[in-house]
Amino acid sequence: MVMKSAVEDDDAGWGLGIPEKMKNNANWVDITHEFKGACKELNLGELLHDKLFGLFEAMSAIEMMDPKMDAGMIGNQVNRKVLNFEQAIKEGAIKVKDLSLPELIGIIDTCFCCLITWLEGHSLAQTVFTCLYVHNPDLIEEPALKSFALGILKVCDIAREKVNKAAVFEEEDFQAMTYGFKMANNVTDLRVTGMLKDVEDELQRKVKSTRSRQGEQRNPEVELEHQQCLALFNRIKFTRLLLTALITFTKKETSSVCEAQKLVAQAADLLSAIHSSIQHGIQSQNDTTKGDHPIMMGFEPLVNQRLLPPTFPRYAKIIKREDMVAYFGKLIERIKTVCDVINTTNLHGILDFFCEFSEQSPCVLSRSLLQTTFLIDNKKVFGTHLMQDMIKDALRYFVTLFWTVCADVICILCCLFNNHQAKDYIDSFVTHCSRPFCSLIQIHGHNRARQRDKLGHILEEFATLQDEAEKVDAALHSLLMKLEPQRQHLACLGTWILYHNLRIMIQYLLSGFELELYSMHEYYYIYWYLSEFLYAWLMSTLSRADSSQMAEERILEEQLKGRSSKKTKKKKKVRPLSKEITMSQAYQNMCAGMYKTMVALDMDGKVRKPQFELDSEQVRYEHRFAPFNSVVTPPPVHYIQFKEMSDLKKYNPPPGSADLYMAASKHFQQAKLILENVPSPDPEVNRILKVAKPNIVVMKLLAGGHKKETKVLPEFDFSAHKYFPVVKII
């Protein structure tokens, strides 16, 4: 067994480099007394050190005997021998054959718990590899346990490979290090699933033979054995299905995703049976009150303690068995959702899918599976088509939808796409789009906190893209002018990028509420920026597109009528943008309502403001919107501009707090009206309504002077919706 921890070398050179003289042949001389004596002669606070070694280097030393820093301490304080697998077998502390059913069930359940704890971001060494059996499954003689140990190793190995490949994790999500453990690489996947299947069949026979027969007097012992066999059978089958599903994900065909979905659904069906049979497994023995880890046969939490780097979390708290089943249930639900991605084929749908999936804060494994399912080996969408083609389709879709005024799109599609110069322009633009859009999709695979940071950065890439889009638009325009002087090409490529820019910017600002980054006194300018600026831009983009689309449809309809004598069947066309427009209107009204609420509360002295000593509101404002500086369209609104634009003195007479509360109430009312008219409301609509309704009432009360004198600050309750709070006056 290779057991070497990788510890990074210290920059200063004080780190490693194992001295040759380390061997015991050196002649050590005790100088304790003199050394301590000499130290006493030093002055208080004086450091005796080499001139190359200073306080800065001293800072990075780990402190021994500090439980927070010294990983070696814990293993040293436990009053029992820490044995590795081979030693444990030799000492008879661990069984490798003739394990009882309760023992097997207990070991398997604990392993499942370890697996989940690992998936939740702990290191393998502190989770799965605390189970001694997985250290070397070859030494296990019990077939059920051996196949299970191999199965778990394979699950870990494939999960690790998937997560590594998708690269949407950070240190807080996932520990990819394997510490040189063998992940059952000497056995093929097929062999392991085969072994699990064999054990499964054997157990099924036992389950059948112990089954109660009609009219037979039931022996309680046989009944117990039957229950336990069934419990073990379900666990082995679950492991096999999970493993097979993961293996299926590694195949490159789209059809395999459906197969994986079926497999995890089968696995999910076993969960309730697993949950109800947890009590059949053996539990950990010693009492944990003395700060020691719970000890199970086959598990040694400290076995890898010496592999851990000098500073490392002391030990991972393994989740409870009861929670394990619930976690598997949720994981399987997420994997099932991931599989649905293959039903979405257009880029905008995919982006929405990724956004929606990410909103549930899914685990790193399901996030990674989504990434690797979508872009197999980072090149082809679902392993079949090129990203460029997908972008081109999206562009074509967007362009036909949005910018059909003057029928220039038809022109682009018919004349210009045949014009090879125009085709070259568009092709090269689309090629350049591919990377930023891939990154955008990848960003949505990261955890929520990291997404925000990355969204800020990707705006730079989109700014470059926008620049190019505008150039291509201009070139296409001049080409078109030559071909058909009456028609003009609208800035469709530029607008398409603008649409995405706006979406990213809105998401960036809103995620700050979700992550609780803003303090109360900052709300007003964030909501202002959203309602007055970003949503206003998005709405004008969308509604322009929508009206031009309808105009286009009318033209087409008339043309059809003219051409064919047959009356075209009147079918009600769904306006694909109407939903997005409606939602944007609602969001804009919610933001406007919140903005006015915050200004009015401030007037009444109900917003606590910090004592600006080293910074000012301007510094904060500029920091909040800093990523927007790289975007050309829409241009960033600077603090001075914001102050001018939001100045209430420009109204005559300037509104008082009561007027503003009233206005806010109207905005919430408006949002409510819009949302109540949505034909088939989704959960998001209901969530916003849950905020809008109480806020209408509260604002009306405040406008009427309710509790005007109270000094108690209002509360903002984000529990109903992550971006908009219910305002509570206490």
Binding site: S5, V7, D10, W14, G15, L16, G17, I18, P19, K21, M22, A26, N27, W28, V29, D30, I31, T32, E34, F35, K36, G37, A38, C39, K40, E41, L42, N43, L44, G45, E46, L47, L48, H49, D50, F53, L55, E57, A58, M59, S60, A61, I62, E63, M64, M65, G72, M73, G75, N76, Q77, K81, V82, L83, N84, Q87, R306, P310
Partner: protein
């Protein structure tokens, strides 16, 4: 580390003690960058290069390796690499250096 940094204020020299303290300082400086073996109160032994100390005998070792107490059978003799480590003075049980490193360091070991 906190204690060492906090106490790292301006050092005040007391004139009368200059001779003895400068001698001690010389002795300690002679040991800098020498291999040192320190036994701690919990029985572990650290071996590394002596880099820094102060009045409370807090010691910083560079390239330190941790050896478990000899009674431990598991992974005995196989050291764990710690890198830069500070041992608080009150956890230092014994300090040893290699004999040949004492040759150029007068005043240490000679009395024993």
């Amino acid at each position: 580390m906190a204690t060492m940094i906090e106490e790292n204020g301006p050092s005040t020299h007391v004139q009368s003690e200059v001779s003895s303290s400068s001698h001690a300082r010389q002795k300690l400086e002679g040991l800098l960058n020498k291999n040192m073996r320190i036994r701690m109160t919990d029985g572990r032994t650290l071996v590394g290069l002596f880099l820094c100390t102060d009045r409370d005998c807090n010691v910083i070792l560079g390239s330190a390796q941790e050896f478990l107490k000899s009674t431990d059978t598991f992974s005995q003799g196989e050291p764990r690499v710690l890198g830069l480590a500070m041992i608080p003075g009150h956890h230092v049980v014994s300090i040893e250096v290699e004999a040949d490193s004492l040759e150029d360091t007068q005043g240490f070991g000679a009395t024993h």
